[in-house]
Each structure stands twice: as C-alpha cells, then as structure tokens.
C-alpha cells in the first residue's frame, strides 16, 4: 500500500504536470524546427508569435463569453482556436511577404535572418502590448477538474490522491492529435514529401519541379497552427502573460536543439525531455521517499536536487551538455 501511495505521489506531482508542460513545449519546438528546416533560420520571434496567436484566442474568448456562446464543460477557448489560427497565419504571411521573403530571395546568411527575426520579435511584442496590454489574463472556463484528489481518495481508499485538471487532459490529447496529423502529412502526403525534399536540398527540389512559394506558404500555415495551439494550451493551463511567452522561447529552443534541430520528431520528444528534466530535478522527493523507507529512516531535508528557482537553468544546462557531447542533438538533426 505504501508503495502504491509513493507511486501516486510521484505520478501526481511530476508525471502529469511534466506531460502537459512537455506537450506545450513540443508544439513550440516543432514550430521552431520546421522554420529552421524549411526556411533555414533560428526564429527568435517564436515566443512572441505564439503569444500573438493566443492573444486573438483570448480576445475572442472574452467576446464569445459576452455573447453567451460556450462549449459547456469544455473551455470556450477551444472554439476560438480556428479563428485565432487564421489571424495568426495571416500575420505570419504578411511578415513573410514584407520581411523574410526579401532575405530568402537574396539567400542571406542565417545570422542575418536571425537578426531580422529579432526585429520581428520587437514589432510583435509591441503590437501585443498595444492591443491587449502586458497584464496577466486567465481565460479558462468550463469544468476545471476531471479527477479531484478527494474523489480519487474516496474511490480507491489510498492516502494520496491524483488530480487531473481538464486543461492537462486537453493539452495532452490535442497535442497527440495535432502531432499525429502533422507527421502523417509530412511523411505520407505529396505536399509533405515536397517540403522535406525542399528542406533537404533546395536546388534539387527546384529541379524536380517543386514550387518554393508553395512550400514556404504551407510551412507558415503549419507553423501558424502549431504556434497558436501551443500558445493557447499553455495559456489555458497556466495563464496568458506576454512576458512569460517571450521567456518560454528559451526552453522551446532548448527542446528543439536537444531533439536535433530540423528534425520534427526529435523536437517532439525534446519537449518532453526538457519538461521531465525540469520537473524531476526540481521536485522535492521527501514525501515520495517517506512512503518507501521505514519510519525511523525518514529524511529531514526536502530531498530536492535544485530549488524550483532554477527550473529554467536545468533545461539550459541540458542544452549545453547536449551541444557539447552531441551537437546534432539526440535524434540527428541537420548537420551543424
């Protein structure tokens, strides 16, 4: 029984949050990696683009709520995602048309692209703050929990309970659906294959009659879908705050590189690697251990490897280690 309790403690405080957080990171990381693979630059506006899409979802959620629309137990935000995605794709295409396409045609070095994306980051951040302001916003409605700790305890008679927030379940399910559709698209459809061909060798792809404009367009469309959904899921789970989204860019980059940048499957797993590492290293194992050890051996300290203040530092250290030992990432990305 103690053993079961210990497992449940671990499951409740580390595995479930890590799965949800990892899914959010994974969507962002695939976004980064896709842009890197097809358009060939590190997009420093990642966090702010996600924030931009989420902003529309937040505004529309408030609007729908005022009209009385809703999905009952599910959050209204899910209803707004398609509209937010449309706005996001529109914004990305405008940015691409007026900013990135010029450098793409000129075949500028990746460094110049990165600096341009910093400019886009500034502009996007300004637009977000001017439109919605920098403050913290919650836009979750509907049922908050699927399983509550107290109910779980009553049901099973254990001393520890499992809490499953509806946002966590939604995050994991939506991520799995989106990512499977995307992999199916990339690997099985003709358009997806042409995208991969373009990413592998641009000149050869052009020779075989692939239209680069179409590839770029589709890349931005997929990027818009990933960015908006990733951002909305994060906002539902935690809350929407532009500054936090900007900071999220850092673990997302870490996830993309750890998985091997340019490799979507690597980025997907990289998200979970980063999330699990962050949570496992900063979790206080006292309660977990106290179930496993006999009473007189119970530890006094929290048994925490690092305090939660260093959450970000953990993921960045993993990134540095990966860069040192295996610069192409765990799952061979593009050659560095």
């Amino acid at each position: 029984m103690d053993f079961l309790n210990a497992i449940i403690v671990l499951f409740n405080f580390t595995v479930i949050p890590a799965l949800a957080y990892g899914s959010q990171l994974a969507l962002g990381a695939i976004f980064v990696t896709l842009i890197y693979a097809v358009l060939r630059f590190a997009n420093f506006a990642t966090g702010d683009m996600m924030s931009f899409g989420t902003m529309f979802a937040v505004i529309l959620t408030y609007y729908f709520q005022s009209l009385g629309f809703g999905l009952g137990v599910l959050p209204t935000a899910l209803l707004t995602i398609p509209f937010a995605i449309l706005m996001m794709i529109l914004y990305m295409l405008i940015i691409d048309k007026f900013v990135f396409s010029y450098y793409r045609i000129k075949k500028s070095p990746p460094v110049q692209f990165a600096m341009v994306s910093v400019g886009v980051m500034f502009v996007t951040q300004a637009l977000i703050r001017i439109i919605i302001g920098p403050s913290d916003r919650r836009f979750l409605d509907g049922e908050k929990f699927i399983i509550k700790a107290t109910e779980f305890k009553e049901m099973t008679g254990l001393a520890e309970g499992i809490t499953l927030k509806s946002t966590q379940a939604i995050t994991i399910i939506v991520t799995l659906i989106i990512v499977s559709i995307m992999f199916w698209f990339l690997n099985r459809t003709k358009t997806g294959t042409s995208m991969r061909a373009y990413s592998d060798n641009e000149d050869l792809a052009l020779l075989s009659g692939i239209d680069p404009k179409r590839v770029v367009l589709i890349t931005w469309v997929i990027a818009g879908i990933l960015a908006t959904i990733g951002g909305v899921l994060y906002g539902l789970d935690k809350s929407y705050r532009p500054f936090v989204y900007f900071n999220n860019m850092l673990p997302i980059f870490a996830a993309a590189i750890v998985g091997g940048i340019g490799n979507p499957f690597g980025a997907f797993l990289g998200g979970y690697v980063i999330a699990f590492a962050e949570i496992f290293v900063t979790y206080a194992y006292k309660r977990f251990i106290s179930y496993l050890l006999p009473e007189h051996l119970e530890p006094d300290s929290l048994l925490q490897l690092l305090s939660t203040d260093y959450k970000f530092a953990v993921s960045f250290s993993i990134l540095v280690i990966v860069l040192l030992i295996r610069p192409s990432g765990i799952f061979k990305g593009k050659v560095i």
């Binding site: 010029y102 400019g119 001017i130 990134l319």
Partner: protein
C-alpha cells in the same frame, strides 16, 4: 577629412537632440539620457568587437552586464563580519571543492583515452561534487541569510573604492567568457547565439537566487559613488556660491529677500543633481574615449587586419597559419570584459543592484540593435548606435504620447480607443526599435556609419 564628414554630422545631430531634451524637458533628464547613452556606447563597443571584428554572435550580453553589476557589490560594499563568522568557512570550503572538481575532471580527461568509462567517471565526479557542495554549503548559506535579513543577509564585499569594481567587473566577465568560449565557440553561428542566450539566463538566475552572494532579488541599495552626494553639495559653501554666481542675473530680478532665498534653494537643489550627473558624465566619457582610442588602434593594427581576415574567410586565414580558435577565444574574452565594465558602470550610476531587472530584451537585444543600426565593424558607428537607439528607447514614449494626443484630439477625453492608446504609449518604444531595425537591415545593412577599410 572628407571621410569623417558624415561621422561628425551624425554626432552633431545626436548632441543637438540631447540639448533639445535639455531645453524642452530638463537638463537633469538630458544628462541622465546622456549618461545612459555613454554606458550603452561602452556595451556596443564590446559587442562590436565580437560581431564587427570577428563575426561572433554573442546573445549573452545580459549575463556579462549582470556580472559587472555583481562586481560592484562584491568590491564596494563593506564586508558583513558576522556573516563571515557564521558561514564564511563553508563558502570557502565550497570554493575549494569546486577547484578540486575542476582539477580532478581535467586530470581524468588528460590522463585517459576517450572511452565510455571515462565519460561515466567524469559524470560521476561532477555529480558527487555537486552533492558534496550542497551538503557543505547548506548550513553556511542558511546561517548567512539569517544574519539581519532585512538589511544584510549576505557576505558583503571587500569595502574598496567603487572605481576598482569597474576593473574587477571586466575581469569577472572576461573570466566567465573564457569558460563559455571554451565550451561554446566551436558551434555554428546561430547555435552560438542560442547557447549564449541561455547561458546568460543561467547566470542571471544564479545571481537572482543565491541570496548569500548579493541578496538576490532583495536588491542591494545605497552603493558607494565615485561622485559627491547631492545632500553634501547642497550644504557646502563653495557650491552655493557657484550657483549664485551662475544665476546672479536671474536672482537680481527678485526683490524680496525671502523669495530670493527660496529661489536660490531651489536652484541649488536642481544644480546639485545636475552637478552629480556631470561628474558621472565626465567619468563615463573618459572611459569611452580611452576605449575608442584603444579599439581604433587595434582595428587598424596587424592584429585587427588578422581578425578581419578570419571573419571574412576562416579557411583562407587558417591556411595562412592563423590560429582561429585562439583568436576567437581572445576576442570573445575582450568583448565580454568590456561589456562587464559597462555593467559595473551602470550599477555605479544607478547606485543600486537589482538582479530582477536583468532581462534579455533590454540588455541583449536592444544592445544588438544598437550595434546593427550604428554600423558593424566601425567603432564610431557602434557608439552612435548606442546613442541613437538609447535616445529612441527613452524618448519613444513621450513622443508617442504627443502624437497620440495630436491625432486623437478630435475624440472626447473618455473615448475608449484614445484612453487605451494613451495607456499603451510606453510600448511604442518596442515598435519604434523593431521597425527601425527592420528598415536598417533592409535598406542600409551596413549601418548608419559603415565599416571603412583603410588600405595601407
């Protein structure tokens, strides 16, 4: 001389703008902007050395700035004796443990051939060392942080004059750059950017959360100054006489003695803050001029030519027998040290150290915009970039507010759009900087003052 015409023109416009601020807002604000422009100029010189001379992308400027700031606390604050008594030994022991870990790892790496066993043993030494560190440090840190936590709760510094901290800040940043350079410089350009960005984030989070070191997010206030304090000036005889002399014509217009005294008091208060800022301006200007002369000399020396050769064609330079790895490391250290110096100058100017305020937006990306806008590879350009971008960064909000009021003046005061726009005026600075960067990148990629190669 013709070559310098645009440089002189650009700088004159900049000085004119600052004087305009002095006339329309106040001289105190103008000098604050000028001081920050000078600090930004030092940062851009550092970033320009790395990017303009050698083509290294360093997105970790925030980390070195924060380290420079930390140096001010470590050098100038009086040591907290009680904290040293209760926890000093543990901290010293920790330093020894770190040194020991480094030596053991180096020994293993040098002594044994590459193998799985070696990797595992290095990993286990580091892991064991970290656990040992935590066990040793925990009681010491707890004791130190409980010493009068409202005021101190940290080890304090060395109690030296604050100007030493500028040198120490540069050394500290340079030392860190050596370690990071050893790790990360082999990476391709955009990976280097991401890696340095993240490493800077780690450094700031350590400074933020290790309260025994510099109080972390609780901030250190009331740091020493290399300039006199306003309060002392306001009571000293010579300063009041000076102010009277300067404003004698204005004062003579006032007839009643009590009014005259009041006006004089107000003038003394204003003048004291201007005087203190002028002292800082003098110090910063000295630093900028010295750095400018040194970097300019270096740029046109054989060493500078070598750096440009490496930047423009690594393989060719390598074939000519230049040691690229060594030169990159050297320039990474030099540039970072200058950024560290700027960080120390900034904290000295503010008189307080607030680790919570170090954010990549303000301390990394804005500095990069300065370098790109001003002109990569040209020190005059980089400094000008520091001036222009900082000026825009500060003045964008008031200008935006003015424009919003102008364009919405036909709307009623309570109009929702107008109120919303006025509230969000401070964020127009991001828009201005972003659009400025995009325009410069597109239409003048070499910057306002482009790089100039003098053929000898």
């Amino acid at each position: 001389m013709r070559n310098y015409k645009n440089v002189i023109a650009a700088y004159s416009i900049m000085i004119f703008l600052i004087i305009l601020v002095g006339i329309f807002q106040s001289w105190s604000i103008a000098l604050t902007i000028l001081n920050y422009c000078l600090i930004s100029a030092v940062m851009t010189i550092g970033a320009n050395i790395q990017w303009g001379y050698a083509g290294l992308i360093n997105f970790g400027i925030m980390g070195y700035t924060a380290l420079g700031g930390l140096a001010v606390v470590l050098v100038s604050v009086e040591p907290v004796k009680k904290a040293w008594q209760v926890g000093g030994l543990n901290i010293l022991a920790c330093i020894w443990i770190i040194v020991a870990i480094i030596f053991i790892v180096k020994f293993i790496l040098n002594r044994f051939d590459k193998s799985k066993l070696r990797n595992y043993s290095v990993a286990s030494v580091i892991l064991g060392g970290i656990i040992l560190l935590r066990v040793t440090a925990a009681p010491g840190i707890e004791a130190i942080e409980s010493v009068d936590p409202a005021k101190t709760g940290f080890l304090g510094g060395m109690g030296l004059p604050v100007l030493f901290s500028w040198i120490f800040g540069a050394l500290l940043a340079g030392g860190l750059a050596f370690v990071i350079g050893k790790i990360a410089l082999g990476l391709r350009a955009d990976y280097l950017a991401i890696a340095t960005l993240l490493i800077a984030e780690i450094i700031v989070s350590i400074i933020k959360h290790e309260e025994w070191l510099a109080r972390g997010v609780k901030n250190v206030i009331g740091l020493k100054r290399p300039a006199p304090y306003e309060i002392d000036l306001q009571t000293s005889e010579w300063f009041i006489n000076l102010v009277t002399k300067f404003n004698s014509s204005k004062l003579n217009l006032i007839n009643s003695i009590s009014d005259k005294q009041e006006a004089l008091n107000q003038m003394v208060i204003d003048a004291s803050s201007v005087y203190v800022k002028l002292c800082f301006t003098g110090l910063f200007l000295t630093v900028v001029i010295i750095l400018l002369i040194v970097t300019q000399k270096a740029l046109y020396s054989p060493w500078g030519r070598k750096m440009r050769a490496i930047r423009d064609n690594e393989e060719a330079a390598s074939a000519m027998g230049k040691n690229i790895v060594k030169e990159h490391l050297l320039i990474f250290i030099l540039g970072s040290a200058i950024v560290g110096l700027a960080g120390a100058m900034m904290v000295t100017n503010d008189g307080l150290f607030t680790p919570g305020s170090y954010r990549p937006m303000r301390y990394t990306f804005v500095i990069w915009v300065m370098v790109i806008v001003g002109g990569t590879g040209n020190n005059f350009g980089a400094i000008l970039g520091g001036f222009v971008v900082w000026f825009l960064w500060v003045e964008a909000a008031p200008i935006a507010l003015f424009l919003i009021n102008l364009f919405t003046s036909h709307l009623p005061e309570t109009n929702a759009v107008r109120v919303h726009l006025i509230e969000s005026a401070p964020y127009f600075r991001f828009l201005v900087i972003g659009i400025g960067l995009l325009l410069i990148m597109r239409y003048r990629p070499q910057g306002i003052i482009p790089e100039k190669i003098i053929k000898q």
